[in-house]
Amino acid sequence: MDVLDLARLQFAVTGSLHFLFVVLTLGLAPLVAIMHTRYARTGSTLDERATRFWGQIYVTNYALGIVTGIVMEFQFGLSWSGLTHYAGDVFGAPLALETLIAFFLESTFLGLWIFGWHRLPTWLHLATIWLVTITAYASAFWIMVANSFLQHPAGSVRDGEVLRLDDFGALLTNPSLSMALPHVLSAGLTVGGFVVMSASAYHLFRRTPDQELFSRSLRMGIWTSFAGTMMVVGFGFAQFGPVTSVQPDKFADRPLAAFGLGMMILIGHLLQLIALALVIVVKWAPRWRFLHPLIVLVTPLPFIAAILGWIAREEGRQPWMIWERLKVADAITPGLTGGQITLSFVGFVGVLTLLAVADYVLIVRVVRRGAHEVALGENPAPAPALTF
């Protein structure tokens, strides 16, 4: 593989890893916030345990979201300085806004939420998880603005050898963005719903304690998956209009992109059917044990669909970095050597893959351990007795 291939593969792998965690973050954040709201209102132990259990899963998942995100942020500067050279004046703006007015706050508020148990006043503590949710969505918005610019360089003009920002508003009303953003957010809800459903089904099937807690969250997961799949499919089809208006031949002669698209749609319809069937029997689902292993079994599907979606969108953009403006091959850092890209490939892909596996092991462990042994929000150990 030459330098260009390695740099592309590195971006694809780290980006996919990042999104696997991000998509669950986007889906779980509002659910955890809703559970926490219930807990703040009722003060019941059941609601508290539910919040802490799903919160622990959220936080464990977030750990990898943030470390993969760090690598993504800097990768543009490392391997793709041609992009910044050509279009940094446009592309840099949404990225800067994402870090300053979304991610910076998200990370700070999440710290307050994680460590604020038994310390912040109830309603302020609750506010932090809603702020985490809002800022996570804001992050998704700005990143999608940046990505949509690559699909369709709206709001920019050519100025000699480079692109300049011409109309900031047009960046935000980019047709490549309008339906893609809700599609991604509903993909998040779909993933979140299926994960909540499946972890609950596991506990119901095993007849572990906390049947009531998991019956409730199974229903919440079913309703979320139902809403999520309806919206993801709706906005998915709604994307075809804008996509074909700005990238008419996107899926015509790009087999990998077309494959990704086709499989995503297939899985999308399947998930929609599953969610529809479950929502009809939602009242009895917690008691129907034969359903539970099946629910656990389909958990990977929404994740796979989400990655396929990105393959469709990004492969469909090839060979362009910025559609009909800048080729990927011209965006790579000039003079990037084989040694350098191999070093970063091994460092990023190797380390992040290992950590991702470790993190999934941990998530599974948190799920299996159940709601009675959750580290998040544990009562602080009593202050050590004075010894003389």
């Binding site: 750990a63 943030i66 470390v67 760090i70 690598v71 942020e73 800097f74 543009f76 500067g77 490392l78 391997s79 300085s81 910044t84 050279h85 940094g88 004046d89 592309f91 840099g92 703006a93 990225l95 800067a96 806004l97 994402e98 870090t99 300053l100 007015i101 991610f103 910076f104 706050l105 990370s107 700070t108 999440l110 710290g111 307050l112 994680i114 460590f115 148990w117 310390r119 912040l120 300049r164 920002l165 900031f168 990037l336 350098q340 070093l343 970063s344 460092g347 990023f348 380390v351 992040l352 950590l355 470790a358 993190d359 092991v361 941990l362 580290a375 998040l376 544990e378 602080p380 150990a381």
Partner: protein, 230 residues
């Protein structure tokens, strides 16, 4: 406007050195710390709020000074070392109580903290065109200042000793020197003023929120029992 944004960039980088400085210092000190649970517990609630300053530095670099972004690719190896070490340090914090043995992750945190310091030495020295050995020495100097700062922080947080402000100021010096040295070149490479205006209008309303959130972290976790999540 370009000077204003250079100020923002400088503030964020200095803030990163001051704040993440004590996290990394405590990380470096772990092998010689007796009560590692309490030491990590002391920095725990601050880490997420501290490390994000560097992400903001990268954001401002992209948005306001895109032409300067080539410092990253020009110092490729140092940036890779910085990122991998940073990632491993974070993983150590998240996983320490949960996977394999604690000692494994504590060593990982200590070594990764050292890696971050050395990477900064290489990166900042690289800006001035200095050699690799000089960069490594500069990195060791940074590590030493962070250790000092980390000890002061632990003392302040755990036993109510004097404030870590002075050591914080010292920890920022290694970033200040190259900032002063490159100020002219950075400002000359700012994005067009129309861009900076957009960024200013978008970010300005959030400044009180950004500052408020950071202050809130210090007020909430500056005293009281040491939490035990990490």
């Amino acid at each position: 406007m370009d000077i204003l944004w250079f100020g923002v960039l400088a503030l964020l980088l200095i803030g990163y050195f001051v704040l993440e400085g004590f996290d990394l210092g405590v990380g470096l000190l772990l092998p010689v710390t007796a009560d590692r649970d309490r030491a990590i517990g002391a920095i725990g609630p601050f880490v997420l709020a501290n490390e994000v300053w560097l992400i903001a530095v990268a954001g401002v670099l992209f948005g306001a000074f895109p032409a300067c972004e080539n410092v990253l690719s020009a110092n490729y190896e140092a940036v890779v070392l910085l990122l991998v070490s940073w990632v491993v340090r974070d993983a150590g914090l998240w996983f320490r109580r949960r996977l394999f043995t604690r000692a494994f992750w504590e060593w990982a945190i200590a070594l990764a903290s050292l890696g971050v310091c050395l990477a900064w030495g290489l990166l900042l020295a690289g800006l001035g065109g200095f050699s690799v050995p000089f960069g490594l020495l500069y990195g060791l100097l940074i590590a030493a200042l962070f250790v000092l700062h980390g000890r002061r922080f632990l003392d302040w947080r755990l036993t109510g000793g004097g404030s870590p402000l002075v050591t914080g100021a010292l920890a920022a010096v290694p970033a200040l020197v190259p900032l002063v040295g490159t100020a002219g070149a950075v400002v000359a490479n700012a994005a067009p003023s129309a861009n900076l205006t957009v960024l200013t209008f978008m970010v300005l309303p959030f400044v009180p929120v950004l500052a408020g959130a950071q202050i809130w972290v210090w007020r909430a976790f500056g005293k009281g029992p040491v939490p035990a999540y990490f």
